[in-house]
Symmetry: C2
Subunit: 335 residues, 2 copies
DNA sequence: CTGAAAGCGCTTACAG
DNA sequence: CTGAAAGCGCTTACAG
């Protein structure tokens, strides 16, 4: 069933049917009604590929997630982001194409994607400080928005969580409880999340004029195992509180603290980052920083559509605020 | 840059360029080389919508996940399935369109999807015993495969984990350790996973000629909280072992057992199902059933492509085996 | 308000 | 082995 046949059945031309399908006001009420009647009766759905070819727009956007680096498996946030993007797309009548990019074949595939005319734009979610795919996209002319943080001063459109501010809030929470000997298990500095969260830690200490002690800073890889290992390095320094740059690392730290015969929060206060569901189940439940992942997905879609509709508009850069969720893993400092 | 221009630059006709692009053998080696040269120089990528319109195939498949019921948020398995599907699609030169179906607007949207000619087929992942979307797809003529279990005797193509066998293995493990008073926290019976896993529990007890005791069976909703609650109901029955139909419920049960002042596995043995990453971190680490989710995604894609290429082939129904992962939450029964 | 016609960029019998 | 031509199913100036 195609336009031609609907036209025949309604006794009008293809052009007219096309107009009523596309809500063109230049159709008489009567004609519109009778065409619509036939359309409904026939359960007619326009051929999307034909339409795309004629119009030059497909109404599909790509969600690109470079994996291997971002380790989709261990990232409990991924699903929420995807859902945010998906919901927003539905709301805008767009469909989303999911591409889990394999770092090995990136270059070639991204090129295909960019010039195949299959998609109107791309949302790329990369935690890397300077992702190769983002580089490639920057040099093309396909609209795209980054979920993550581009290099400072970059003029590309992006949406991100305000990791720095979130970390700052978390550490300030510890400072307000009187802690001064605050350690951090930092994330990998190859990821912007790692960099920003560490910067927030620095910022909070600076605000309270606490000297930065390098022996209280140790890097982890965002995993539970690395959190455990990092905490073991930290224990001899006798920190009164620890800010872990991810909940998974905080859980590892919790385990290390317990294995050392110490208690949270009585001996050491602990704050995480992410608010993964799991952290309400630990004993004690973890104080952490909640991220508006769903919102990030929505804003990313809004931004991209704006870019598609107005290719020459200025880049949009959005930072979404986090929320400190206070549970029971922190307590007043004992001096 | 389009076929026409490539043709002009190479000094041949559009037809010929099209043939070399599509690897048609009816092209002289010389012509092929010179055309390919121009194609590479110009970084030419064929317009996918134009090609789709001409050929009647898009090479995109939809991955449909009805959410709200399947609660993508709380399902740690979702990501792995998506990745399996995505990888397999890349390997086959297909792209995947992700549609997180909103139960409210199902009917209309699925109809659009089915007749828009945008996709060649769909993989639908639904845990429901009798999903409405699956019903609708059955009555259309778009190739689709279900990830999950259709009603018995159905002739639709599907791929699923052998949940029954997995549960059977898990309970047999307890039986072999001498347990006879084995309780189960069953999943919701509206989901095929819930139904199958309970059937496996029954089957194992039957195999060992242990009488089914209804007071040892209580339903949960696959969540940690419901596992906790269910275990509280079970405690007064003094079970020697518990098979929880999901790891999350097992974690809830573990918490309930602890809160009651009992120990795992000394007082109660515990087995879960899913093998989510988390269960290696608990104390004791959980014995559970591992699912080949990645494989499910791959087989689903293979099956769908087969169906697309041979629309009249017989339905393919695949059950993938699970693996019992023995850790430290089970012990010999004390009589 | 409506229709005839050109065009979007491909593929593929058909003829040679 | 190659090219001219028709066709895939839409949209959209253009003319009326």
């Amino acid at each position: 069933m195609n336009l031609e046949q609907i036209a025949k059945l309604s006794g009008v031309s293809r052009s007219t049917v096309s107009r009523v399908i596309n809500n063109d006001p230049n159709v008489s009420a009567f004609t519109r009604q009778s065409v619509l009647h036939v359309v409904n009766l026939a359960h007619y759905v326009p051929n999307a590929t034909a339409r795309s070819l004629a119009v030059g727009r497909t109404h599909v956007i790509a969600l690109v997630v470079p994996i291997g680096v971002s380790t989709i498996f261990t990232d409990p946030n991924f699903c929420t982001l995807v859902q945010g993007v998906s919901n927003a797309c539905s709301a805008h009548g767009r469909t989303v194409m999911l591409w889990l990019a394999d770092p090995d074949h990136e270059g070639d595939q991204i090129h295909q994607l960019m010039y195949s005319h299959l998609i109107d734009g791309v949302i790329i979610a990369s935690p890397l400080v300077n992702d190769a795919l983002v580089q490639i996209l920057s040099h093309g002319n396909l609209p795209f928005v980054l979920v993550g943080r581009p290099p400072a001063g970059s003029s590309i459109s992006y949406v991100d969580i305000d990791h720095g501010r979130g970390a700052h809030d978390a550490v300030r929470h510890l400072l307000r409880q009187g802690h001064r000997r605050i350690a951090t298990i930092a994330g990998p500095q190859t990821m912007s999340t790692g960099v920003e969260r560490l910067a927030g830690y620095h910022g909070a200490l600076r605000e309270y004029e606490v000297r930065i002690d390098p022996t209280l800073i140790v890097d982890g890889g965002f995993t539970e195992a690395e959190g455990y290992w990092a905490m073991q390095q930290l224990l001899p320094q006798r920190p009164g509180a620890v800010f872990a740059a991810s909940d998974l690392m905080a859980l590892g730290a919790l385990r290390a603290i317990r294995d050392a015969g110490l208690r949270v929060p009585q001996d050491i206060s602990l704050v995480g980052f992410d608010d993964i569901p799991l952290v309400t189940l630990t004993d004690p439940a973890l104080t952490t920083v909640r991220q508006p992942l769903h919102g990030v997905g929505r804003v990313a879609v809004d931004t991209l559509i704006e870019l598609i509709d107005h290719p020459h508009s200025a880049p949009r850069q959005t930072l979404l605020p986090t929320e400190l969720v206070v549970r029971s893993s922190c307590g007043e400092a004992i001096h």
